[in-house]
Symmetry: C2
Subunit: 385 residues, 2 copies
């Protein structure tokens, strides 16, 4: 397999884009990523998206978007893995280039949720869980995560306020990201006063949905041997694993086995361990998910994730910075696009262009995208020369 580099990136702001259709949003990110890469063709385009079929009455995003961005006739597919669709598209592009089959691949994530003609986005998000075994029983997606968080607090003795630093860090970082949906810091008091969504998850434990698109251009490293592109951002590893789609069938609902497995694959591929990771763009759809992700990736012992946050180790200057551009919590969570935002943000850090929330001397960054309630988890490690 060939080594692969990320040559170009782009993203739209996560927002309520009522003036832009699905293809306009995706096109904006894809074309800007090609300009960023200084490349005028794509051999393959992979679109990560969860719910365009039900929310926008539009399937078949491959052909739909390839033509729109001027790549008529180019191979193009839609990849779906619920909220991990973005990372799944990136992984598909990575494999296509690594295999030698494709020279220039574009991976994009796009989701348009806020002005869906079908409305009922909560019901559509529920399609990421098990329709028969979970959703038909009357539980929503937030409620599933609330059960996991309640159980976690019970098992390890944490209080609700112990999760506040995850949200406060995300919003503090998002305040410096012009692409973030929310660009205001929040206080502990604001967290404590936030209205409850599904006890114990309140408004500041949960990430906001939104419309958005993010994209990256992948090429073989050998293509850049004589190029001036600097720094060169390499994909060092990619790992993917699933778990039961429903939470009830897991022996330990408070442990992300699929995260542990996909991270282990990635560490092995790259020959790295947690100490080598300079920053971690994790999937903080809910504060409890940030906790579990840190633990599964080996940054904290089981049950000790909140300790890292309380100690400030997740801040940009901490031992393992997370959500450095706002994370899902403040940048926003346009579900099928989120994984690509994470990749774009890791590249920004490795390029040293993350502005006020730049992690000093960032050389190796990890991104982890979670689909469903921990049922499809994809981890990538990127490194700069």
């Amino acid at each position: 397999m060939r080594e692969v580099a990320v040559l170009g990136i782009s993203q739209t702001r996560v927002d309520e884009h009522w003036d832009k259709s699905l293809r306009l949003l995706a096109g904006e990110a894809i074309l800007a990523s090609c300009m960023d890469a200084n490349i005028d063709r794509a051999d393959s385009i992979y679109i990560g998206n969860m719910m365009s079929g039900s929310a926008n009455f539009q399937q078949h995003l491959g052909a739909y978007i390839a033509d729109w961005v001027g790549s008529r006739f180019t191979e193009s597919l839609h990849i779906e893995a619920a909220c991990s669709s973005g990372a799944a598209a990136f992984r598909a592009a990575l494999m296509a280039v690594a295999s030698g089959e494709v020279e220039v691949a574009v991976a994009a994530g796009v989701e348009k949720m806020t002005d869906s003609p079908a409305g009922e986005i909560t019901a559509q998000l529920a399609a990421a869980a098990d329709a028969e075994w979970e959703i038909d029983q009357g539980i929503s997606f937030v409620a599933l995560n609330a059960l996991v968080m309640r159980r976690y607090m019970h098992e390890y003795g944490w209080q609700k306020d112990d999760f506040a630093p995850f949200s406060i860090n995300a919003h503090a970082n998002g305040a410096h990201n012009p692409f973030a949906r929310f660009q205001e810091p929040i206080s502990l008091k604001a967290y404590q006063r936030a209205s409850m969504v599904a006890d114990p998850i309140n408004m500041f434990d949960a990430s906001p949905m939104g419309d958005g698109a993010a994209a990256a251009v992948l090429v073989p490293v050998e293509m850049l041997r004589h190029s001036a592109a600097t720094p060169l951002i390499r994909v060092l590893a990619s790992g993917a694993a699933t778990d039961t789609i429903d939470v009830q069938n897991r022996l330990r609902p408070t442990w992300l086995t699929a995260a542990e497995r996909s991270v282990k694959q990635a560490y092995q591929q790259a020959g790295l361990s947690p100490e080598d990771i300079d920053l971690f763009e994790l999937h903080d759809a809910f504060t409890i998910m940030a906790t579990l992700s840190l633990e599964a990736a080996g940054f904290a012992q089981p049950g000790q994730g909140p300790r890292l946050a309380l100690d400030g180790e997740i801040l940009p200057a901490g031992r393992i910075p997370i959500a450095t551009r706002g994370g899902l919590k403040a940048r926003g969570h346009p579900v099928g696009a989120t994984g690509m935002y994470q990749i774009v943000e890791v590249v920004q850090q490795l390029r040293g262009t993350a502005g006020e929330t730049q992690v000093e001397n960032a050389r190796i960054g990890m991104a982890q995208n979670i689909g469903g309630s921990g049922s499809n988890i994809i981890t990538h490690i990127l490194g700069s020369r």
Copy 2:
């Protein structure tokens, strides 16, 4: 890249499976394909499906199905390219094994349409076309194909009856396929009397929807070097191309440019030309599509596809047998599964197990899956040792 073999296949009957859920159907095909391959593990599972999100309120088919077939923790993704989702899943599996990243991959296609809780399957199928530029204008998917057929008849001077042999051949072959939705031959008179769906497309020009699942196990050829598996079925080539998602923006609505391109890629990869192909499982969603597919693949001059059918060259004993197991017309068209049925049927022919519709001395077979009205076309060529 490594050479890849298809080691196992399986399919359910295309039918109204009111007693089986989406996962039961998919599981049946996947587990039987693994038994056929005599393999008890999969490293990656790729699910082709078009409309489970809108028709079954279930997204995230990767995790949903991997756990169900006993492959909890295995990487698994859902790939969508409208009616070409099946071939897209096969191509993803192929690339994963060819790249060296994956040893045993399962590709499956599944669709459950007949007892959709959401009803309105015609509206959901329309999501394969352009929502804004086509569907919102009031045209259905059949009507789009009717416009193409009408134009084709006008340009080349064919009469409606000239398309009858496509349907008659499909039903004659389907009569011998226990997995076909319709297992009765039809007469020319029946074709002529069939009620009109969207003039000039009548009931026997159009393929029926249905519930179904088909699957294949892919492994590197090197794994089989010392095995007794015989005959060895190799994947000789894979080509993929898109076109505009909407018909109106094509310079020639009566020519499948994406088919021509994907076929050309495949011929080049395999070092073959049309004369080398012993049978062709094409995408006869409508009789006009069978015509256009034959022409784009080089079996007939532009405008001369119906001549092949009228001359009997598409029959199992003809020069280029098509729809040998009934095709979309008689076997049925469970949209996201269809591409995998085609692969399974080509393998049956190459194994010499196609029974009464066996093509004599079949050594090289081609399958072509079309998404939308010709906007995403994927071609595979398989060969037996």
